[in-house]
């Protein structure tokens, strides 16, 4: 069992850090699935006592890592699956945020216990030589027999998906709406309109986003709507640390809302907010 990955481009390092920082804000722990060409992070819905939704990120290794090597424990296995504290991983990677990092290596090794060592070579003003900062993030190795519980979630089939060009107003809105109502109804229609409705005993708040791009239409649906837990929605938007402004909202009527942020071509962050009864 071996895993080793190296990053060198400051832009990619920052982006990778931002993805992990987003997960850090969502839950204490996450699952890392290391494949031969792909890396996945999953934050499970039930894992945290907070109102955190299911969120996962898929990262094509070539995008970020000029060097990437994974050997599973057995030749017939395709992955290494690890449980890791997202808080620790986030803190270990936080050095990448500032820039001035030459390179950053991730390495699975055993010290007193298995861990992912994050080895950053940092340039400082006080010296011409780079300084080495090492964080050993403890991990739990999840044996192959348990993998069925840790599969990468499937993107649901939305009846209607709309592309929102800017997250900014929605983000602040959702954060405030969670104080008004425990559930939010998302309504989308073929005119490219999205309504978010919060209802409480004292008020009804209807927010309207118009002229959105229509990404997917399944069948002859004119519109689709779904109500979700407002704290879960707010947890997802509140956690976002990525610079991306675009968001795709897919509505699978009666089942769930799928939120997707394309960080780049093969680096995608997803979340599923399950439907709640109104």
């Amino acid at each position: 069992m071996k895993f080793r990955a190296l990053m060198q481009d400051p832009l990619y390092m920052k982006e990778f850090q931002a993805i992990v920082a987003t997960l850090t804000k969502l839950a204490k722990d996450c699952v890392m699935i290391l494949g031969s060409r792909q890396m996945h992070f999953i934050v499970n819905e039930d894992q945290s006592s907070a109102a955190s939704p299911l969120v996962w990120a898929g990262i094509a290794a070539d995008e970020y890592f000029p060097e990437y090597r994974m050997e599973a424990a057995h030749p017939d296995q395709e992955y290494i699956v690890l449980g890791v504290s997202s808080a620790n991983l986030g803190r270990a990677l936080s050095v990448l945020r500032g820039g001035g990092v030459n390179s950053c290596k991730l390495k699975l090794q055993r010290i007193q216990f298995p861990c992912i060592s994050v080895i950053a070579s940092v340039l400082t003003s006080s010296s011409t030589e780079a300084r080495e900062v090492v964080h050993d993030v403890p991990v739990t190795i999840i044996p192959g027999s348990d993998w069925s519980a840790y599969v990468v979630p499937r993107v649901p089939n939305s009846q209607l998906a709309l592309g929102l060009p800017s997250l900014r107003l929605l983000k602040s809105l959702i954060d405030k709406l969670k104080n008004i109502s425990p559930s939010l109804e998302f309504q989308a229609n073929l005119d490219g309109e999205l309504n978010v409705i919060a209802t409480s005993e004292m008020s009804t708040v209807t927010s309207r986003f118009q002229k959105l791009l229509i990404r997917t239409v399944a069948g002859s649906q004119q519109e689709a709507s779904c109500s979700v837990d407002s704290r879960k929605a707010s947890a997802f938007f509140g956690a976002l640390q990525l610079p991306n402004e675009e968001l795709t909202i897919g509505i699978d009527r009666e089942h769930s809302i799928h939120l997707q942020i394309d960080v780049r071509q093969d680096v995608v962050l997803h979340s599923i907010l399950p439907a709640v009864c109104m």
């Binding site: 107003l169 005993e201 708040v205 927010s207 309207r208 002229k211």
Partner: protein, 274 residues
Amino acid sequence: MADVEPSPYGDCKFVARVEHIKTLTQAIKAICFNDYGMLQVSEDGLRITVEQGKSIQATLFMPPGAFMEFRVQDFQCFGVKMNVLSECLSLFGSADCSLRMMYRDKGDPLKIILYPHDDDDVSTECAIKTMDCDEPIDYDQNLKDPDLNVIFVRGPNLSKVFNELEKSAEEFEFVTSPNRPHFKITTVGIMQAVFSVEVAKTSPMMMMFNCKQTVVARYKSQQIRMTNKAMQSATKVAIKTNSVGLLELHLVMQGDSQEEIFIQFFIIPLLNTD
């Protein structure tokens, strides 16, 4: 008065528009210390009054000139939940919005529609339930005496002075006097320490100083601190006390439109126990 109603407002008894909501939002938040607020609309403008117990009252007053558009039929009076109103105004966070406010008639909700300035494709409509209106306490008459102590101070400076008062104090003692100390606030009820702050009447922060008698009165520090938020955004403050220490803080806030808006606090002094 409007004789022909334009159609978008239908048969609304009260319609108002504000181009930038920042000051209004700040003002509403500044008086949000109790759940229930009383809205009174007349041709004079809009008043929102919040009280707590019988010892503190705050009134936000916006004259018609502070609105882009202001139309009212008769005198309207209704109650709303202040936190709901405040939450609705801040739905878009720091993004600047324009606002339209509508109220049809007794029993109908107050409608507030926000339009963010930087995105024409987004809007939010809030329908806030209204309640029956109580009568606010009228302190104004008590402060009509000719021999009040009156001080006008620059808002940001006074805000700093208030802000530096030790927060763990239970009470503050205010002294206003024609002689030294002209204006002094002392903390009461801190273990092992006493703090005070004194402003000379010649200080550049004083815009007017007119004290005829020495008035010493104590107030709950918690109530004085309720004025902090308003003080932070005030340009000018009038401090008035009568001989028994009834305190009026009259704050002037520069609205985003041409005309100023006002917040008036009345605070009842504590009984002198010593």
